[in-house]
């Protein structure tokens, strides 16, 4: 592989890797801090009950953050280990 090819592949790798890292981190932080800020500033937003008026929306939101975080980590590993690894392999040659 030529010097410029390898440079291009590396730039691509950095670009995509950073794109998912930054997007996913921002998503998690945004969700978490909006949860915290609602708890701190506007707890009444968590008052409505959902699912036939039995479960408060705050608890649904909270548990969803945990499940969504797990989902994002799986997605991240799939993208980084399966799709971006082809770029890493090219660079190793």
């Amino acid at each position: 592989m030529s010097e410029t090819d390898s440079q291009n592949n590396f730039s691509k790798l950095v670009k995509y890797q950073n794109l998912i890292s930054v997007t996913f981190s921002t998503l998690v932080l945004l969700l978490y801090f909006s949860f915290i800020i609602i708890v701190g500033f506007k707890p009444e937003l968590f008052s409505p009950m959902v699912f036939n008026e039995t479960i408060p929306i705050g608890i649904v939101f909270g548990i969803s953050i945990i499940i969504f975080s797990i989902f994002l980590t799986i997605l991240y590993v799939i993208i980084s280990n399966f799709f971006l690894d082809s770029l890493r392999k090219k660079l190793k040659q």
């Binding site: 981190s25 701190g40 699912f51 479960i55 408060p56 608890i59 909270g62 797990i70 980590t73 890493r88």
Partner: protein, 539 residues
């Protein structure tokens, strides 16, 4: 090896005497399960000690741990008895508020995966300072990171020891001192003989036991409530003295700024815990490092959802039951006993014994990880790089690390006994604040910011560390509640928002005035490091 066996038998003798002593609170199932755990982990330690011959195996288990194993070990390292018993207790006491902690303790994990795991593994070998010192002056960076590491793990260790002593006193009918001594001695044996291999397996087994025990507990709770969450909430609100309030944010967060600050401490503190970061060096490559972080997130997230169900189950099944509740309406023992009492309520003496033994094993796994991280900071960072400037033999370095293990263990036992009955909860908060304000900023900026300089990291890191420590001391928890002053000098319980900001600003300023960043060599080194951090290829 003879040393190993004699040390081990010495330890088991006093244990047997206590275990067999006639004590009302002694649960034989607990002792049996726990002895089984101890014996099997000691056997593992024996075999691990044969493989623990060099630095690679002592610090990093030879890099032979798989992604799944490491994910379990990380979970075992991270899910402490405090989060199992403490959070389920908090849910029992005030419902929703427990969730705030659960989520906070979890969300650090995706961040570690997205920003740190791969690069850490590609750059480092045994401690996170290996990664941060690649392009910076070893001397400055290793001093800073070992001070950050040692403070974090000592505070964390003391809190674990004190909590463990009290817990085991209640569960096993041992005296406080002997509980602390048993934990301290076992941890010294695991770490000094079996290094990272033994520590990893102790953590893996503990994680499986804890996840299994908590799953059964939650399942029993759901079964009693016809597998209906609505019914669980309904029953809980009708019986709890706070009624409907337990479904909504309560008194835990009365002040928004504090809430944000606590959130930052939990997220960035987790991402700066040395014993956690160290685990990423035990896998063969960055691929497995990422996989292990994803597994860890899954296990830890699942576990925190369980603690929430367990807490609500405790409300339904324990409230108004005089077997578990004092006349004043609190749980017998303390509110931290919610999960323990619940295990008895749903599964009788056998299950109570199992969960108690799991709690004991949980403590052991966490303190072992902490001690190994502390010993590595002393042997690898301080001795080999700061004192010997990298010119020491492998044998000597391991020797120093093993001696440090024993010394740290003795210090932990000693301080654990001194702090008996003291309010040590602030120590965990301080450990997280320091990890978030010194370890994390340096690690993060060394990976991503090309203009970071050695002195910038050094002075900025120490400013972050000191700010965190001092603000905790001047804040309401230590200054008012512990030292008995009327008003806090610093008004917030959690300083992370301020100390992290102080760290980043001062690292930035000190790096700007440091001429190092202008040199060509500095730029070249960053390019090399940057390339390696994404590809694991030396450029």
């Amino acid at each position: 090896m003879n040393l190993f066996l004699s040390f081990t038998s010495l330890l088991l003798v006093p244990f047997d005497i206590y275990a067999l002593s006639d004590n009302k609170t002694t649960n034989n199932y607990a002792i049996l399960t726990f002895l089984l755990f101890v014996i099997s982990t000691l056997i593992i330690t024996y075999f691990a000690s044969k493989k623990t011959k060099n630095k690679d195996s002592f610090y990093a288990a030879g890099g032979k741990i798989t992604g799944l194993q490491n994910g379990l070990a990380i979970a075992g390292d991270y899910m402490s008895a405090a989060s199992f018993l403490g959070i389920s207790g908090l849910v029992f006491f005030s419902g929703f508020d427990g969730l705030i902690y659960s989520i906070g303790f979890l969300v650090g994990w995706p961040i570690i995966l997205f920003l740190l795991a791969e690069k850490l593994k590609n750059l480092g070998k045994y401690t996170f300072a290996d990664a941060t010192s690649i392009r910076l002056d070893q001397f400055y960076i290793r001093i800073l990171s070992s001070v950050g590491t040692l403070l974090t793990i000592l505070l964390y260790l003391i809190a674990q020891m004190v909590g463990a002593g009290g817990l085991i006193q209640t569960l096993f009918g041992l005296s406080y001192e002997s509980a602390v001594i048993i934990i301290g001695s076992l941890m010294i044996i695991y770490v000094s003989f079996g290094g990272m291999i033994a520590t990893t397996w102790v953590q893996v087994i503990k994680a499986i036991l804890l996840l299994f025990g908590a799953s059964i507990l939650a399942l029993m709770v759901l079964k009693v409530n016809d597998y209906s969450i609505s019914k669980l909430f309904n029953e809980a609100t009708s019986i709890h003295r706070k009624g409907q309030d337990i479904l909504f944010p309560g008194q835990l967060i009365d002040e928004p700024l504090s809430a944000i600050s606590l959130g930052m401490a939990l997220i960035f503190g987790t991402a700066g815990l040395p014993h956690i970061l160290m685990r990423f060096f035990t896998v063969p490559d960055a691929r497995s490092a990422k996989i292990s972080a994803a597994y860890a997130t899954g296990f830890i997230g699942y576990f925190y959802i369980l603690t929430f169900i367990i807490g609500f189950g405790a409300i339904v099944l324990l409230t108004n039951n005089s077997d578990y509740i004092n006349t004043d309406g609190n749980l017998i023992g303390s509110n931290n006993m919610a999960a323990i009492h619940l295990s008895h309520a749903v599964g009788g003496d056998i299950f109570l014994g199992f969960i108690s033994a799991v709690a004991f094993a949980t403590i052991l796994a966490v303190v072992s990880g902490l001690t190994l991280a502390g010993a590595s900071a002393i042997g690898h960072d301080l001795y080999a790089y700061v004192i010997c400037k990298g010119k020491t033999s492998e044998k000597k370095e391991i020797f120093i690390s093993k001696i440090s293990t024993i010394i740290l263990g003795i210090i932990a036992i000693f301080l654990g006994i001194i702090f008996e009955g003291q309010n040590v909860a602030f120590m965990v908060g301080m450990a997280f604040a320091i990890a978030a304000s010194a370890n994390f900023p340096i690690l993060f900026l060394s990976l991503y910011w090309k203009n970071l300089t050695s002195k910038g990291a050094f002075y900025g890191g120490f400013i972050g560390l000191l700010t965190a420590a001092i603000l905790v001391i001047l804040g309401p928890i230590v200054w008012v509640d512990i030292l008995g002053n009327a008003n806090p000098i610093f008004p917030y319980k959690y300083p992370a928002l301020f100390s992290i900001t102080a760290a980043f600003i001062s690292i930035f300023l000190f790096s700007k005035i440091d001429k190092e960043s202008l040199s060509n060599k500095h730029k070249k080194l960053f390019e090399k490091q940057f390339y390696k951090s994404y590809t694991n290829i030396e450029k």
